[in-house]
């Protein structure tokens, strides 16, 4: 029913919250402003960790999908993990794109640039948004798991192709030199620490959310049917004369 034992999950929740607070302190105040980017650097403490965790989440989705497809390791656990992780991946990819855009405006002067990494991230976003749409299509659990697993692997295989082709395309246009990658050599000291701490904090957050989302996925099978039964039940009860003994407390 859960990936982690409840006590562990709770402890993880607190550790996550604490680390996010610490990250905020360092990111917004403790770390110095960058020489070149000035305070816009502070957005990198969110953008970079979010990007790493997004990649991690999609890798987990791909791995879980593969494990489901492989007959010897097939288990509904993997299907649920794949779905849960993909949702988190899309969430973190969205954050990555937004933070990248907010960073780009003051530093590059534009909200968006057709640089390889941004474009690849945008395609990644849509690839897995489509996957999430596919997950929502009803059907028998095994069929759904199979087509989602195959879709996830198709998407995952596509990512390096997209990355390679877009990178090549943009270097041909020689704009890569104008838009330097965010992490130029000057990351050191407190800034480096904050960045790595951010990755740690987001990793904890990812595991914590994955566990919760997984639990929801477990409970949700058949949920729609039960909700329908319940709604009908309530409607029926509402149209009957109320017997004081009948009305259960808390309903």
């Amino acid at each position: 029913m859960t990936l982690l034992k409840p006590a562990v999950a709770r402890a993880l929740g607190w550790a996550t919250l604490t680390s996010l607070v610490v990250l905020s302190l360092f990111g917004l105040w403790g770390a110095p402003a960058d020489d070149v980017q000035s305070d816009a650097q502070r957005l990198m403490y969110l953008h970079v960790p979010a990007a790493w965790i997004a990649y991690l989440a999609f890798a987990v989705t791909a791995l879980a999908s593969g494990l489901w497809l492989w007959p010897r390791t097939r288990s509904i656990v993997w299907d649920r993990v794949a779905g849960a992780s993909a949702e988190l991946g899309v969430l973190f990819t969205g954050i990555t794109l937004l933070m990248g855009s907010l960073w780009g405006r003051p530093v590059w002067g534009v909200w968006w640039a057709w640089d390889a990494r941004l474009v690849t991230t945008a395609v990644l976003f849509f690839l897995y948004l489509g996957y999430l749409a596919l997950r929502r299509v009803p059907g028998n659990p095994e069929a759904r798991a199979r087509r989602c697993a195959i879709a996830a692997l198709i998407a995952f295989v596509d990512v390096p192709i997209v990355h390679f082709s877009v990178t090549w395309w943009r270097t041909l246009h020689q704009e890569a030199t104008v838009f330097d990658p965010e992490l130029k050599a000057n990351i050191h000291g407190v800034m480096a620490f904050t960045l790595w701490f951010g990755v740690l904090a987001f990793t904890l957050l990812y595991v914590y959310l994955l566990d919760r989302r997984y639990r929801l996925e477990c409970l949700q099978e058949g949920l729609e049917d039960r909700e329908l039964e319940r709604a009908i039940e309530e409607r029926v009860r509402g149209s009957q004369p109320k017997d004081p003994v009948d009305v259960a407390p808390g309903r």
């Binding site: 395609v123 489509g130 749409a133 299509v137 199979r146 998407a155 295989v157 082709s165």
Partner: protein
């Protein structure tokens, strides 16, 4: 029966259906031409932009038409329990995949031939080196057809959710759009040496997704 023979059977069936119903010729082709027309409205021929962006517009149009072609490829299986017929026929699912993808590819290539004439005429494009144009188109089409057929069966198996195919297919084939357009641009500018790397990418994509489709189609067809 060999794989090639079985695939030809399936491809032949699909193409014969097309020959009789003429959906691609009478519905999808006009759609493609209309899209080209719309691009002219949107991009104003007098500004001289059209000729420069013609390859890109062409391939976007082809992708949109491919969505229809793939949808059609599975729509013909929906009637009269044809899908069950396919499953029970004893044909190797890999052959069914290859056959259906081949039929879609043939239809798209025919479409592209007409659309290219349209682009040359309407957007005033001159062809430079022919070889990369033809080879690039062929490989891109194989890649699009294979991936489209794969997603087609995937969507068909979830109860005919046709609106799902575009959002699934288009991001995945975006590198094909990228590579095909760049290859054609270089060919039109008569710099074929710049085309070949992109054509290499198209070849890799085509091989990769044809292989994935061949492997995955069987299990997806079962669930349809």
């Amino acid at each position: 029966m060999s794989l090639v023979r079985e695939a030809s059977l399936v491809a032949g069936k699909d193409l014969r259906i097309e020959a009789r119903s003429r959906v691609t010729a009478e519905q999808i082709l006009p759609f493609g031409l209309v899209v080209l027309l719309l691009f002219a409205f949107a991009l104003d021929p007098d500004r001289g932009v059209l000729r420069d962006v013609a390859p890109g517009l062409f391939w976007v149009t082809v992708l949109l038409a491919a969505l229809l072609a793939v949808s059609r490829s599975f729509a013909i299986e929906a009637a009269n329990g044809a899908r069950d017929g396919l499953r029970l026929s004893g044909l190797d699912p890999a052959a069914i995949f290859l056959g259906k993808a081949a039929a879609v590819a043939v239809e798209l290539l025919a479409l592209e031939a007409v659309l290219s004439v349209g682009v040359i005429v309407l957007f005033d494009v001159a062809l430079g080196s022919i070889a990369p144009i033809v080879l690039g188109a062929f490989l891109a089409t194989v890649g699009i057809a294979a991936t489209g057929t794969l997603y087609g069966v995937l969507a068909a198996s979830s109860g005919a959710r046709e609106t799902l195919v575009p959002v699934l297919l288009l991001p995945v084939v975006s590198p094909v759009l990228l590579a095909a357009t760049r290859a054609w641009e270089a060919a039109i500018d008569d710099v074929p040496s710049e085309s070949w790397p992109w054509i290499g990418l198209l070849a890799i994509f085509a091989v990769l997704y044809t292989s994935i489709g061949t492997l995955a189609f069987g299990s997806l067809l079962e669930e349809a």
